[in-house]
């Protein structure tokens, strides 16, 4: 750290908020360190009032005294961007958790911070420009191979205007801090390009030429999502649901199976054990697209519920920044945040300590705008070289009492493109994924024909209303035709919308298989059955369902699959 840091003195401690009286000047959102004994605790300036400033401390504040020294760094809370991020596990401030563990053992040591990118690691750089070339921020000067990707080394995002290459390193191995190019702008100012650049997490990276409308469906391989409530590449969606409804399991499934290049999992204020499951599973799982371990395309940001609260907020921003960085390379990036409610609660805690005027349920008035600007970071972009990159964001929401009429869910629903609402009833009945097929919605289009989908939804609706009716008038009070519609809806739900997350085949359905299976569903939905009694009808659908449950677990287009299909077709034509 520099010797000429501006200093201040602690004058108050209230939870993770520390008030400091400073001497010269401070900058909003700059990083400061509070010295406690021989520990330096990272903090961020969040309010300035006269000669006093309030800091949110990213650590446990136990032991801080009035009179302790604070040092201001003049830097905004930033992350390091460069090759070597993939496959890593970071905390909300981008500390590498594995290296912390090697160094400090079982527990997270307060005030211990390490570089995000490993010092001394060399990367094979290949220049892609020559002297005299003119570039804008975000355009590449060269590439390095990182895992299965070509990692672009780009003109620093913070530079404005056009820059000319005046020096460029030849192909070779360099560490991330080595200058690989020198550039000069029209005013003659020169700047260095290294493989590493720093970027403040709360500022979006916008070094692209324009933002496009997300239209293409993102194949998640979760049938209910892809068919009924699809997500677009570069779009946004949220998954609110009461505890235990299946938000995390669903996000894990998406992170494993979605057809994207890079996945960033931001575990924000949730259970550590869930992250450990990813850490143990992913290295073993093979990505069918690349044939490599899933970990090679994944970055995990992990600020679990017992880790310092203030870093929860930064963890979602850290995730978004890393995601935007890879989007700049023309890749499709998927950011999954579990749970955005914890981040909102961290904001609420801090707002309460600042004694701001509270809004609904004590959340601060700026909750909505913060949530909106977070999802705004998603998007399909056209880069300056004409290629496209995307960032799709999915956020879990944990509404208090499972009631969607609460500030975080409502603020999120205003800004996302799809709503996957999880239902307590479906989860209790073990109908997974427990996305409510009728309440949920999406503004994006599916890869399955929309009028066919509308038909399926209509039968679900009908089935539900017949179900309701039966509760009032009994089975005897409805016609056989209505009863069959009821059964069709239940059947479609059971064998198509529900998916067994613990079956190797059923857990992920490719778009080809979905189209194929949906066509069969469509036939069944359209088919006019003539059953002589309700019991016979029920029996028929029970057997059909039985057949399909096994069908779903057979490999697509395998002999067994075909055999089962012809059995099913026979059963249908006999009916």
């Amino acid at each position: 750290m520099k010797a000429d840091l501006r200093k201040g003195k602690v004058v108050g401690v209230n939870g993770n908020m520390v008030a400091v009286e400073f001497e010269d000047n401070v900058m909003q959102n700059e990083v400061a360190y509070i010295n406690v004994g021989d520990e330096k605790l990272k903090a961020e300036v969040i309010r300035v009032k006269g000669k006093r400033t309030d800091l949110q401390v990213f650590e446990d504040t136990v032991g801080i005294k009035v009179g302790d020294i604070a040092e201001f760094t003049g830097e905004l809370l930033s992350v390091e961007l460069g090759p070597g991020l993939l496959g890593k596990v970071y905390d909300g401030l981008q500390n590498p958790l594995n290296r912390l563990a090697e160094k400090y053992g079982f527990f997270l040591k307060r005030g211990a911070y390490l570089d995000a990118l490993e010092e001394g690691e060399e990367w094979e750089f290949t220049p892609t420009v020559k002297i005299g070339d003119k570039l804008f921020a975000g355009e590449k000067v060269g590439t390095v191979p990182e895992k299965i990707f070509e990692h672009r080394i780009m003109v620093p995002f913070k530079l404005q205007g056009q820059w000319e290459i005046v020096e460029i390193s030849p192909k070779g191995k360099y560490t991330v801090d080595k200058v690989v190019a020198k550039i000069k702008n029209e005013e003659g100012r020169t700047s260095d390009v290294t493989m590493l650049q720093k970027w403040p997490v709360k500022v979006p990276i916008e070094a692209y030429s324009k933002k496009l409308k997300p239209v293409d469906p993102l194949v998640t391989k979760i049938r209910i999502i892809d068919t009924l409530v699809p997500v677009a590449i570069g779009g946004t969606f949220c998954t609110p649901g009461p505890f235990g409804a299946g938000k995390t399991v669903l996000q894990h499934l998406l992170s494993r199976h979605a057809e994207v290049d890079i996945v960033i999992v931001a575990a924000c204020g949730e259970r550590a054990g869930e992250v450990v499951e990813i850490l143990e599973e992913f290295p073993e799982l093979i990505d069918p697209k690349t044939g490599k371990s899933l970990m090679e395309r994944t970055i995990i940001i992990c600020n679990t519920s017992s880790m310092p609260v203030a870093a929860r907020e930064s963890s979602v921003y850290t995730g978004a920044t890393l995601a935007e960085y890879y989007r700049q390379m023309g890749l499709n990036v998927f950011l999954l945040a579990d749970s955005t409610s914890r981040w909102a609660q961290a904001m609420r805690e801090m707002s309460g300590r600042l004694e701001e005027i509270p809004g609904e349920e004590a959340f601060p008035a700026y909750l909505e705008s913060r949530i909106a600007s977070f999802y705004e970071r998603a998007g399909l972009v056209k880069l300056r070289d004409g290629s496209k990159g995307s960032l799709t964001i999915g956020g879990a929401v944990s509404p208090a009492g499972g009631n969607f009429e609460e500030p975080v869910t409502q603020a999120t629903l205003k800004v996302v493109g799809a709503f996957h609402g999880l239902s307590r009833d479906r989860a209790n009945a073990r109908k997974y994924p427990s996305i409510d097929p009728l309440d949920s919605w999406s503004k994006y289009t599916s890869f399955i024909e929309s009028d066919k989908v509308a038909n399926a939804v209509a039968i679900l609706r009908k089935s539900q209303s017949v179900g309701q009716m039966m509760k009032v008038v009994g089975e005897e009070g409805i016609s056989n035709e209505e009863f069959v519609e009821f059964l069709k809806g239940e059947f479609f739900d059971a064998v198509y919308l529900q998916q067994n997350a613990f079956d190797k085949i059923d857990e992920a359905t490719t778009s080809d298989r979905q189209k194929y299976m949906f066509a069969i569903m469509d036939e069944i939905i359209e088919k006019k059955f003539k059953f002589t009694s309700k019991d016979i009808a029920r029996r028929f659908f029970q057997e059909l369902r039985q057949s399909f449950i096994t069908f779903n677990t057979l490999e697509f287009d395998s002999d067994e699959f075909k055999k089962r299909e012809s059995e099913i077709r026979k059963k249908l034509s006999d009916a």
């Binding site: 004058v11 108050g12 401690v13 209230n14 939870g15 504040t61 136990v62 032991g63 801080i64 005294k65 009035v66 009179g67 596990v89 958790l97 912390l100 563990a101 053992g105 079982f106 527990f107 997270l108 009461p242 505890f243 235990g244 204020g269 259970r271 550590a272 054990g273 992250v275 450990v276 850490l279 143990e280 992990c302 679990t304 519920s305 017992s306 609260v309 914890r342 609660q345 805690e349 309460g352 349920e361 004590a362 959340f363 944990s398 208090a400 009492g401 499972g402 009945a429 073990r430 039966m470 509760k471 009994g474 089975e475 005897e476 613990f502 309700k534 019991d535 029970q542 039985q546 677990t553």
Partner: protein, 431 residues
């Protein structure tokens, strides 16, 4: 020489304010009052003002009482000497034994680096089918029992503790009824388990805020023993009392409540305790079973609600039985794939059928004609309730699975069960 401060500026609720220097955040202090010495903890610093939360409550504190800062945060002793001992909510002996002073260390230490955790893989067998079959308990799990007052939750807690194969039991009582305290103590003694137990007991007659330290002490001790390789089971009853004490302090400190008076950080407060449950690589583990009583039988009440978002499932205790709906062990899939090949299918289908049974009951109660299918479900549901749900049942997992197949085959045809055909071929009882 320790300095005393004898000017108390403010007494509000259980929080007092003094002017003092060189005091650190969360430091402990002692207050000497007419009635004795009480422990207090710094909860806020503001220039020279120091806010202290008084664990014994502020009743009887007078403005000229003496406050002495102890220059350390809350600590607890940890050694073999703890075994078989009973302490109160402050960590003072409750059993007439000597106070412990050896090997003292801070409670509420840092959290475990997630990179150092391992995925838990050991099932804890309880002999209760509703747990073993439907919601297996796993070593290092954190799991609450959601219950209304009056249910036998402490009995259930004790029964699981006695049946679980663990090296150590740590019981934390918060607002525990004296009878329940004696029940736990006697049960542990009868089963010869007291000598591997440590009890921190705050009873209903103790000052309410004094229970705030109980979870931290229990978990700090558990952590030390787990690091030495012990499998530790921590029982906390009742976390709603703990949360209510947090609420009391928050209101006194004029914090803006988020929901029904509870502070906005209730989630974080509870999480930092529950997350102490862990399975250490090459060392022991901590499993946490807690009781959360639900005021008004309402799960959406902030305490059970926040708890549900933190823990790895929950058991609902209702009418003396563990309810199949809503009860959930989120770690069950870590273990129930390796028990028996039919375990998961039995678990899923029997619950789904039980849900259908509940619907049929509803129909019946509304006077509708019962179809042949309804009749089957009614029969099924009754048997499920009597033979699997009742807490009187105490059988090993395998026997419970066999019983499941028996009930199914007595009532249904194989196809009606919706089970995968390969399982039916293997397990359907031959008549």
């Amino acid at each position: 020489m320790q300095k005393f401060y004898s000017e108390i500026l403010q007494i509000a609720g259980d929080v007092i304010t003094v002017e003092a220097e060189n005091v650190s955040y969360k430091e402990l202090a002692e207050i000497k009052t007419r009635t004795g010495i009480s422990l207090a903890q710094v909860i806020r610093l503001e220039d020279k003002k120091v806010y202290l939360q008084v664990f014994a409550g502020s009743r009887g504190v007078s403005t000229n009482d003496k406050v002495r800062f102890l220059k350390k945060p809350m600590q607890v002793s940890c050694s073999e000497n703890l075994l078989g001992r009973i302490f109160d909510g402050n960590g003072s002996p409750r059993d007439g034994g000597p106070a412990l002073t050896d090997n003292m260390f801070d409670v509420g230490g840092p959290s475990v680096n997630p990179a150092k955790r391992i995925v838990p893989k050991n099932m804890i067998r309880t002999g209760i089918p509703m747990i073993d079959v439907f919601n297996s308990l796993v070593e290092s799990q954190k799991l609450p029992i959601f219950s209304i007052a009056g249910e036998p939750y402490n009995q259930l807690l004790a029964r699981i503790a006695m049946q679980a194969e663990v090296d150590m039991i740590i019981l934390g009582g918060m607002g525990l009824k004296h009878d329940d305290y004696l029940f736990f103590r006697d049960t542990l003694e009868e089963h010869g388990a007291l000598s591997r137990s440590v009890l921190f007991i705050h009873t209903a007659s103790d000052p309410t805020v004094e229970c705030l330290l109980v979870p931290d002490m229990c978990l700090a001790v558990a952590e030390k023993f787990a690091l030495e390789g012990k499998k530790v089971l921590v029982l906390l009853t009742d976390m709603t009392n703990f949360s209510d004490s947090l609420k009391e302090i928050a209101i006194t400190m004029e914090q803006i409540p988020s929901n029904r008076g509870y502070p906005g950080d209730l989630y974080s407060q509870l999480a930092s305790r529950y997350e102490k449950a862990v399975d250490f690589e090459d060392a022991g583990s901590i499993t946490v079973l807690a009781v959360t009583t639900m005021p008004g039988d309402d799960v959406t009440h902030p305490v059970p609600d926040n708890t549900g978002y933190i823990t790895e499932g929950q058991f609902y205790l209702r009418g003396g039985r563990i309810e199949p709906f809503g009860s959930l062990s989120r770690l069950k899939q870590q273990v129930n794939g390796d028990t028996r090949s039919d375990h998961r299918a039995i678990m899923d289908r029997m619950i789904q059928l039980f849900a259908d049974y509940r619907e049929s009951i509803e129909k019946k109660s509304m006077g509708f004609q019962m179809s042949a299918w309804d009749e089957k479900l009614l029969k099924y549901g009754k048997r499920f309730e009597n033979e699997l749900m009742s807490l009187a049942v105490n059988i090993p997992l395998e026997e419970a699975l066999d019983l499941g197949w028996k009930i199914l085959s007595d009532i249904f045809d194989p196809t009606e069960t919706g089970m995968k055909e390969s399982l039916i071929a293997e397990y359907w009882p031959k008549k």
